[in-house]
């Protein structure tokens, strides 16, 4: 479901050189985004939550992007709001990657009944539209930051596990694995030291795509009113709040919209750069 980008089966016309360029652009976008959010409290010109009588003001030297319906500075809210949105995204995706790695590696490497059980269980989660499942879980558990992180980690784990499992199935038959086994290396060591490093490229690409998807899911949940609780700002919530008066102050909508698109674009560019550079799905 709310999977914004889906992996294209093959990617004709890709090249390592263009991959490097995309990767460079993506990294530059990521670093600038991280710098702004990490140093947000120092950079933001105003308080993100303080009201002022000057509501729905247009852009000025004082408020570069104007103010919202209760007079809060839009630029400051965007900068601070990015912290919440990106924090949830990064923590949730790290958890999903970790869980997906463990499940996918176990499933693919051990094989047999273990593989069947893990994969069928993940199929069940797979059957739900991601976004609907996320809504139901957050609605049931209550919209707090830890719950949002947990939910998003759960819904993206199956995809991650599948991406890890696929290549593991073939790599575990390679000669160097047999060689390691013949000199008495333990199974756990083989799985983590000799198989895992060989499947790292698709994992990197998928992680980047999942980050893009997660930006969508986090902001969309907040947009529906089941995001991080107020008064701390977040991009999805800002977009939703601004709709009421958007004809009077278009920047209150365009600001968060641009932030969401920029963040998503960053991870898509990174994913495409990684894919072309590492030549995944192009073999």
């Amino acid at each position: 479901m709310a999977n914004v980008p889906i992996m294209v089966a093959s990617n004709p016309g890709g090249s390592a050189r263009r991959g490097r360029l995309l990767l460079f652009i993506g990294l530059a976008m990521l670093v600038s985004m991280l710098v702004v959010t990490i140093f947000g409290p120092q950079i933001a010109p105003h308080s993100a939550i303080a009201f002022s009588p000057d509501s729905l003001a247009g852009p000025s030297a004082e408020h570069w992007l104007g103010t919202d319906s209760i007079g809060r500075d839009v630029l400051s809210r965007l900068i601070i709001g990015g912290r919440t949105t990106l924090l949830i995204t990064f923590v949730a995706v790290s958890l999903a990657v970790a869980a997906g790695l463990v499940l996918g590696l176990t499933s693919g490497y051990v094989g047999g009944l273990t593989d069947e059980i893990i994969m069928r269980a993940l199929d069940v989660i797979f059957a739900f539209p991601v976004f609907l499942l996320a809504i139901a879980v957050v609605a049931a558990l209550g919209p707090t930051v830890p719950n949002l992180i947990l939910t998003i980690a759960i819904v993206y784990t199956p995809t991650m596990a599948r991406v890890v499992r696929g290549p593991v199935l073939s790599v575990k038959r390679w000669d160097h694995v047999e060689a390691a086994r013949s000199v008495g290396v333990g199974e756990f060591q083989i799985a983590t030291r000799h198989v895992l490093p060989m499947v790292i490229s698709p994992i990197l690409v998928q992680t980047s795509l999942t980050l893009a998807n997660t930006i969508f899911t986090v902001t969309a949940l907040s947009f529906l009113g089941i995001g991080p609780p107020p008064p701390d700002p977040n991009w999805g919530g800002m977009l939703s709040e601004a709709r009421q008066f958007m004809e009077l102050a278009p920047l209150t909508v365009i600001g968060p919209a641009t932030a969401i698109v920029f963040a998503t674009l960053t991870f898509i560019v990174l994913a495409n750069g990684l894919r072309e550079w590492l030549d995944v799905g192009n073999r």
């Binding site: 709310a2 914004v4 539209p129 991601v130 499942l133 009113g225 909508v253 674009l265």
Partner: protein, 314 residues
């Protein structure tokens, strides 16, 4: 062909059971008391709470509750709304129809836009390819609710007389209904059309590089015939799959779009139920959506088998 369908449907059963288990557990994992949620208030005497518990069968052991709930599902009983006290199924059905219409229109638009631009991109190459891919890359990063909000903003700023929030029921005025669905469907279709476009392009390019296409061209077939009989036909298979798989995205997206454009579909129903903490409705919608996605996946598999002679399910 019938066997293919039966085998696939048979596989669905265990997954459906798993899905129902997840939906059941979800609603039992609620913080606080389910009976209290059913009462809709915390200000309630312990005796009254006990009565509700008995009515809902909450005093039974958990596995008995699950089996009971499953039995009700099997006869088409999706439970009773906490808010209206009416069966969920009766309230869900008309809304489901609205969502289907929206999803269908969006899917159609996405197909036309996606296959069209993907074909153009792959066949014309050069600048067209460059433009299509550039636009695709950018659109991929614009979530559907952002598109919808921006459409509403633009309409409000420049065409205030348009009245895009006036949803018209289909049976009152079919033409007006289509008109009111156009912009919502478009905002839903754009992201999906990008995926279809990229996959069409990749599939056509892959087919075009194969020998039989060169042979067809060498024996003097016209460009139109090659495109129709060789390229499009063979490139269709991955496109069908991708389009089918995008349905889940369309269903999820419709929640957002319906909320923005105030269309009384399943998405808005879910949204309202979340606001009023009407858990049976949330549970029913999640379940119905999962079943729809599963069914579509089967359809995709069947369509795939029909379109590609190499695929066979023995």
């Amino acid at each position: 062909m019938i066997r293919v369908v039966l085998v696939r449907l048979g596989w669905m059963l265990p997954i459906l059971l798993g899905v129902s288990l997840v939906a059941f557990t979800l609603m039992r994992a609620l913080p606080g008391d389910f009976a209290q949620a059913a009462a809709g208030t915390t200000d309630i005497s312990p005796e009254a709470l006990q009565t509700i518990r008995r009515e809902l069968g909450l005093d039974l052991p958990i596995w008995a509750q699950y089996l009971h709930w499953l039995g009700q599902l099997a006869v088409g009983d999706l439970g009773t709304s906490f808010v209206t006290d009416k069966p969920v199924w009766g309230e869900l059905l008309p809304r489901l129809a609205v969502t289907f219409e929206l999803t269908f229109l969006a899917g159609l638009m996405a197909m036309v836009l996606g296959v069209g631009s993907g074909l153009a991109s792959a066949r014309l190459r050069g600048r067209t390819d460059w433009v299509v891919r550039g636009i695709n890359g950018l659109w991929l990063a614009v979530p559907n609710f952002v598109v919808a909000t921006l459409i509403v903003l633009l309409a409000g700023l420049y065409f205030p007389e348009l009245g895009i929030f006036n949803y018209v029921p289909f049976f009152e005025d079919p033409i007006g209904n289509l008109g009111s669905m156009l912009l919502p469907a478009l905002s839903l279709a754009l992201a999906v059309s990008v995926t279809i476009s990229e996959n069409t392009r990749a599939a056509v390019l892959e087919v075009a590089s194969q020998d039989f296409v060169m042979v067809a061209r060498a024996k003097g077939l016209g460009a139109g015939a090659v495109l129709r009989d060789y390229l499009v036909r063979n490139a269709l298979t991955p496109v069908i799959t991708v389009t089918g798989l995008q349905l889940a995205q369309l269903l999820g997206g419709s929640i957002l779009i319906e909320t923005i454009f105030t269309i009384p579909g399943m998405g808005q129903y879910l949204f309202d139920s979340i606001t009023s903490r009407d858990y049976p409705v949330i549970q029913a919608i999640v379940l119905v959506a999962a079943v729809i996605v599963l069914l579509v996946n089967v359809l995709v598999d069947v369509a795939y088998a029909r379109a590609d002679a190499r695929v066979s399910y023995g």
